[in-house]
Structures are given as C-alpha cells and as structure tokens.
C-alpha cells in the first residue's frame, strides 16, 4: 500500500499569538472531517498550540514576520512542519536543546536549565517524532509526527 499522504494542507499566518486559537481549531476541524477521532483531534490541537506559540514567541522577531504550517494527513498519522523566520541565537539553542533532550529523570534532576515554557515536553508526550532544522538564515523548522492510537506499535495510549 502506498504510504504517501492522503491530503496536504498549508496555513500561513502573521506572527501574532492572537491568531493561534483560530489556527489550532482549523487543524482540529480538518482532522475531524478526515475521520480522526475527536480525542485525537483535540490532542493534536494541543500540539499545534504549543509549537505555534513557540514559533510566534521565539521565531517572529520583526513585526511583519509570519509562521507557516504544513500538515500532511496520512491514513494512520498526521505530520506537521512549522516554519518561522527564526529568532535569536540563544532561543534557537534553547529550542534545539528542548527538542533533542531526552525525557529522563537524570536530565530533569541534573539541574540543567530546562526548556520550561517551551511546551515541548507536552508535544513530545503526545507525539511519536519531533525534530528540528535551522538553515543558514536562521529559518527554523519543527517537524512533529503523531500517529493514531490504534496504529501505534507500542500500543501506548496517547
């Protein structure tokens, strides 16, 4: 069976937190019309909210910057790619640290500056894959994969 996406949607919105509720609701409704469960859609909304909040807060430095989300809808999962114009080097470094950090007790208790506030812990909890790319112009891109519960190999409830 081909593993290509069934559908692809794209949203580009101004770098302003006030737009995020409408964007996350849109993604949720798109999932509902594609027969994902309300629970899956709601939890995906949380992911969209967190990664868009990060993109706007840390990645939209100038007043006219924008955030772009691409969603690939598969039979068994959804993949997001969120791009922003790139923020300050220290914010990108914190973001990278948060994305690459392992959720382990040692790390949490090691007293390292945590990624608190980035909300990526909850994204990690609700998704199967999360990674980031930063190009030479600081354009930051976060990719998140979330699978349907019944398609998860581990069978863990998400």
């Amino acid at each position: 069976m081909p593993d290509g996406p069934l559908h692809r949607i794209r949203i580009k919105f101004p770098g302003d937190l006030e737009y995020i509720p409408a964007v996350r609701k849109y993604v949720s409704e798109i999932l509902i019309v594609n027969r994902f469960t309300p629970k899956f859609a709601f939890r995906t909304e949380i992911i969209v909210d967190e990664i868009c909040n990060n993109a706007v807060t840390y990645g939209c430095v100038s007043g006219d910057s924008s955030v772009e989300i691409a969603c690939l809808i598969y039979e068994d999962r959804i993949e997001f790619q969120v791009k922003d114009a790139g923020g300050l080097k220290e914010d990108i470094a914190r973001l990278r640290e948060a994305v690459e950090a392992e959720v382990s007790a040692e790390k949490k208790t090691a007293g390292k500056p945590s990624a608190a506030g980035l909300g990526l812990e909850i994204v990690r909890l609700l998704s199967e894959e999360i990674d980031m790319e930063v190009d030479d112009n600081n354009l930051t891109s976060i990719r998140v994969v979330r699978r349907k519960e019944d398609s998860s190999k581990t069978g863990a409830a998400r």
Partner: protein
C-alpha cells in the same frame, strides 16, 4: 511590602507608544509610583501605553483604580492604555471585576503593538490557506475565515457574511476545479480595520470551465438570469454580499477576488 518596578521604554516599532513593564505586586503602596510613571509618560508626549504585566504577581483593586485613572488621562488626550501578558490567575480576577470591559487584554506586547498598528496605522494582515479540492474541507475553511474576522473585531453579521462568501467561492472552486490530486485551492485573506479582501484560486477543470463562464457572465448581465435558472445562485449571493467582486480566468486556473467592507 513587595517592591514594584516600573520600567519605561518607547516601542522600537512605533516610537509614539510607551511600553511600561511592571514587575512585582501592584498593591495600594504602588499607587504613587504608578501615577508618577504616567506623569513622566505624558511629559514625554506619549499618549499610548502598553502595560506589560507578564512579571506582575498581584493587582489590587486600589492599583487597578489608579490604572483606570491613568487610562482616563490618556483617553482625554486621544490615547489609550492596554494590558499585555497578564497571567491566567490575574486575568481571571480582572475579568471577574469586569476590568476587561475597560482595558483591552493582549497575550503579549507584540500582539498589543500589532493591534495598535492595525487600529491607528491601518495596517493590514494577511493569511494564506491551501487545501485539497474536496468539499469536505470547505466547512473548516469557512469557519476559519469567520473566526479570524471575529478575532479582528468584526461584528457577528459581518463575520457571518464573510463565512458565507468564503463558503460559496470555495464550493465553486471545488465544483469547477480539478479534483483533489490535480491541484489545491489557495485562499488568501487580507484583512484590515475597514475591509477584508479574499482571493480564491484553483486549477480549472477544462471540461467545466465553460459552464462557469456562462454562470459568471449571467451575473454581470442580469437579463441573462431567469427565474428558472438554478445555476449561479451562489455567485449571485456572493456578489450581493460583497462590495467588489471579480472573476479572472487563465489557462491554468480561475481566481475569484472579493472585497467586503466592514459594516459594523
């Protein structure tokens, strides 16, 4: 008594706006300090202020009263004071006190500045959506457009009309365009304080383009519309609800431009 700090900085983006960053507890002991900050602001001829409350842990009713007084002083001169970055707990308490009917609340300073530029510099903001050419995607798209209109302060009636316009032109784009795999539908929205411009473009299905041309021709030549005519009612509705309406055909696709002025 917890120490209160108030830092004053002109906005980099709009130097006529002052950002007042408060930290600590705003209680009755901080009233004089708040008043002095606004005195300094007015001496510097700043009429608009964004109070950044992200680092505030308490706002007492006395301090809130002082801030209302400061806002009145700005309003009398044609300015305003808004709050940004309120914590959830404080925001809830202020809302319970109906302070949200006096002050505008924004998520952060940037949102407040964007709202200022929108309101006083007529800045427009743009959004783009791209979605598969399938009818099931249209309801989320039209609801998104309506929510954005509401979010930007458009009234219920305007928002509903915008939703209707988006619904009709997106439905048409699906009906007369090539199906999902052949091409996506692009929706661009440009919104400002006075109007919203909507542009929907798609890849036309060569077999359906002639029927669409017929329908759209009848819109601009009313005598071609008959009472029995069942086609083109959607576009007629869009034309009726909008202030400017135009359809462009090209070899690759169809593009519908609609402008809807804000009425409320």
């Amino acid at each position: 008594m917890a120490k209160v700090e108030i830092e004053f900085t002109p906005s980099k983006e709009s130097p006529e706006v002052a950002i007042l960053t408060f930290s600590g507890e705003l209680d009755s002991g901080s009233i004089a300090q708040i008043g002095r900050s606004f005195d300094l602001m007015l001496e510097g001829n700043y009429l608009f202020a964004v109070a950044d409350m992200a680092r505030v842990t308490l706002i007492s009713s006395a301090a809130l009263g002082e801030l209302m007084g400061c806002r009145t002083r700005l309003l009398e001169r044609g300015g305003d004071l808004v709050f940004a970055g309120l914590g959830i707990g404080i925001r809830e308490k202020l809302t319970a006190m109906d302070a949200n009917k006096v002050f505008k609340f924004f998520s952060d300073v940037r949102s407040a500045m964007n709202a200022y530029n929108w309101e006083y510099h007529d800045r427009s903001e743009g959004l783009e959506l791209s979605f598969p050419s399938l009818l099931k995607f249209v309801p989320p798209v039209r609801q998104f457009a309506s929510r954005i209109a509401r979010q930007k302060g458009y009234g219920n009636r305007d928002s509903f009309r915008i939703e209707t316009i988006v619904d009709e032109i997106c439905n048409n784009a699906v009906e007369h365009g090539v199906e999902a795999d052949g091409g996506d539908i692009d929706l661009n929205m440009k919104i400002d304080r006075k109007k919203i411009e909507i542009k929907v473009s798609n890849t036309s299905d060569p077999d359906k383009i002639d029927s669409l041309k017929e329908i759209s021709k009848s819109l601009f030549v009313p005598q071609m519309l008959t009472e029995e005519s069942k086609r083109g009612r959607g576009l007629a509705l869009v034309k009726m609800l909008s202030n400017d309406f135009e359809i462009e055909y090209s070899d690759i696709g169809t593009c519908v431009h609609v402008t809807k002025l804000r009425e409320e």
